[in-house]
Assembly symmetry: none
Homo-oligomer: 420 residues x 2
């Protein structure tokens, strides 16, 4: 089976937007052993989209469209699919009821234009969209399978995983794939590559990929076999060898992010956390509260964006601020201690305080601590540990790296690993 | 003139890599008034690449290929272009000399395989590549222009800028484009469409696109003319009509985000801000500190993620929390007042406090205030205003909508607009 992905939307042809849904789809298809042969991006133009669908269906037996299912007049995926397949669009009253119900829940009237979303290709299966108004569609005929998915990733991904993957599995080849994902903190991409390339390079039967985002590197090892268990067994040896090399820099193998891993460790130990952050401006707290249930262990954060907030809100001694400056190891330690005290007062013991203070740039910095310098501290009943990192330039990048490093320091401290 | 971009390389079909050259090319083309009609990604397969080139040349008069010009056997762009155009590949001895010279400079022997890079389409212009071994190619015939560029951005971008742009400028239409971007807060995509479709639909000479992200909808109006000024003038009438309809829901026309707009308003008025946030968990502060210089007006935020942090950290009266619950209008107002007091104490007057408290879900909520209910308040020297919104389900979505709504309420209050 061979697949093509067509992303629909004129905004995806502008200098500022890329189709990223195809990365998710490529990953899911590869797990089923389905090769992605081609990707295309087409604007909101009915004739050229219809032509693209026709061409793709001639070449490949699985064609997946993303986007263009919304209510507005420039959402033309339904119409173009109808043109390309010669199938009429049939009004599905049940969809109108669902959309109306959705609007009722939000206590808003349903705009008439939403009815456009209730048209389904004759003979197609409607795919429910609990996270949005536009349903997806699955059409299977002599030319293969045509899938229409909504554009927003938060609607597309669950719809594809829940409704399409089970249907596709019956079409997929007997070959099965398994991907072991090792997520790593505290090591940059090129250092990681240097350390593990001699280990994985000889194992040509395992497809090894290194994915890198600021502060978060993932090693993907993909094995294959005639069953899922066989595919899983195929990657074990290489996985073990890479684990030995990277040790406790690997923070998760279950897909959990660093924030989720730290949250799970806190929840498991019954520990309570408060944060004091400066240059991350609330993003560290934002990361810790991404998952539901964080109120169990998270008291909150004091985002002190100026010196007087550090003294007035957190009670940091003004003489310490004056002597060392707000971006310094002593202030990071004092912030962590103040946060720990708040966590303890608010949610009780065992309490942990975590702090970040640094120069995100582009302004600020000193000769000794240039832009990109960030101090961290973590405080618990056994005292405080601190760390200093140099992240270089780029405000957004420095902030992201600082959040990731703080989470990693928290993880290491709770796990009894060294912090430095 | 209409363009298509074809990115070549099987690695661009994996779950970890995207073609980003097309963003650069889209930007450069739009500056010349050349519309990008389509993008495609094709693997290292000679037949399907040749088919793709044929198809693209039939549809568009400018086709730009990136990648597949290297020395290895899976670099097939030259051969596929030869197949598609019916033109032979001719050995250009001068290219071999250049490659050999390059290897000599790096004191390495030239591998025989590099000679593959010295073949040029019969009749094509060779484009020098000072940053790599593979030259580009420019072919112009009855079917239009076909450009072959190397894949690495550091080779592609200067080659396109230095060699192709001057050549394209003579082909480009005297036509110029101008896009008016109206950014809108507080109106959902479908409501917006319903309100403005009757206005823009009759103006077929203006390309109108509605881009939507949670809490942030953009209306793009693209006009054309023989000069930039004429293109700009072309969209003024429709722009004015849409402004009349949407009024103060339009928060920017200069590309600034809602956070940047609110920050600019604060900076202009010399006002100081502090935030008290609950369900947004630090993301509101994170949005306000995205741009550099925010320490001028932003004191910080208290992220109170549990009731005792609301009372202990912010000094909210426990009886108010008990009587109304943490997610309520009186608590939102008390939080905003506490934040305002902190801003005033820390950075002085005029001071503003902004607050958010709500149920992000999936847990929590009451019958009267189900999951997705969020209360907001803004307090200044003239008292407090509050608002309540129902955002429905989806933790990440509720948090994003709450951040956007809080920023919009802040913007409206500073601008003297009604808050409700």
């Amino acid at each position: 089976m061979q697949a093509e992905v067509i992303a629909v939307g004129s905004e995806l042809l502008t200098p500022s937007k890329l189709d990223t849904n195809s990365l998710y789809l490529a990953r899911k298809l590869s797990e089923l052993g389905i090769a992605l042969a081609r990707k295309a991006v087409v604007g909101d133009d009915r004739a050229s989209l219809a032509e693209e669908i026709r061409r793709a269906r001639r070449a490949s037996d699985l064609v997946i469209l993303s986007g263009g299912l919304g209510p507005t007049l420039d959402d033309l995926t339904r119409e173009a699919s109808s043109d390309a397949t010669g199938r009429a669009l049939v009004l599905d009253e049940s969809v109108i009821d669902e959309i109306r119900e959705r609007f009722r829940r939000f206590k808003r009237p349903m705009a008439e234009v939403n009815k456009r979303q209730a048209y389904v290709l004759d003979g197609a299966l409607k795919l429910d969209n609990p996270r949005g108004t536009a349903p997806g569609q699955w059409l299977e005929d002599d030319h293969g399978v045509l899938i229409l998915l909504p554009g927003p990733p938060r609607e597309l991904e669950p719809m594809f995983a829940e409704a399409c993957l089970p249907l596709l599995a019956s079409h997929a080849p007997s070959q099965r794939f398994f991907t072991l994902v090792l997520r790593v903190a505290g090591i940059g991409e090129s250092d990681l590559e240097q350390r593990i390339a001699p280990i994985y390079a000889p194992c040509t039967e395992i497809a090894t990929t290194i994915l890198s985002a600021p502060g978060d590197v993932q090693v993907h090892l993909r094995g294959q076999g005639t069953s899922e268990a066989e595919a899983q067994a195929a990657v074990q040896g290489l996985g073990e060898a890479i684990r030995s090399e990277l040790g406790d820099a690997i923070y998760s193998e279950d897909g959990r992010s660093l924030a989720e891993t730290a949250a799970a460790l806190l929840a498991r130990g019954g520990a309570k956390l408060a944060v004091a952050e400066s240059c991350t401006g609330g993003l560290l707290a934002g990361a810790l509260t991404t998952t539901a249930g964080s109120s169990e262990f998270f008291a909150g954060s004091v985002v002190s964006y100026c010196d007087s907030a550090k003294s007035g809100w957190l009670g940091i001694d003004e003489s310490v601020l004056r002597a060392h400056g707000a971006v310094s190891q002593p202030v990071a330690v004092a912030m962590a201690a103040a946060a720990r005290e708040r966590a303890s007062d608010t949610l009780g013991e065992p309490a942990i305080g975590l702090s970040v203070t640094g120069y995100a740039g582009p302004g600020g910095g000193t000769e000794a601590d240039p832009v990109g310098t960030v101090y961290f501290a973590v405080a618990d009943a056994n005292g405080a540990r601190s760390a200093r990192r140099l992240f270089g330039r780029g405000r957004a990048r420095v902030r992201t790296l600082a959040v990731q490093t703080a989470l990693d320091i928290l993880r290491r401290r709770i796990s009894g690993l060294e912090v430095a």
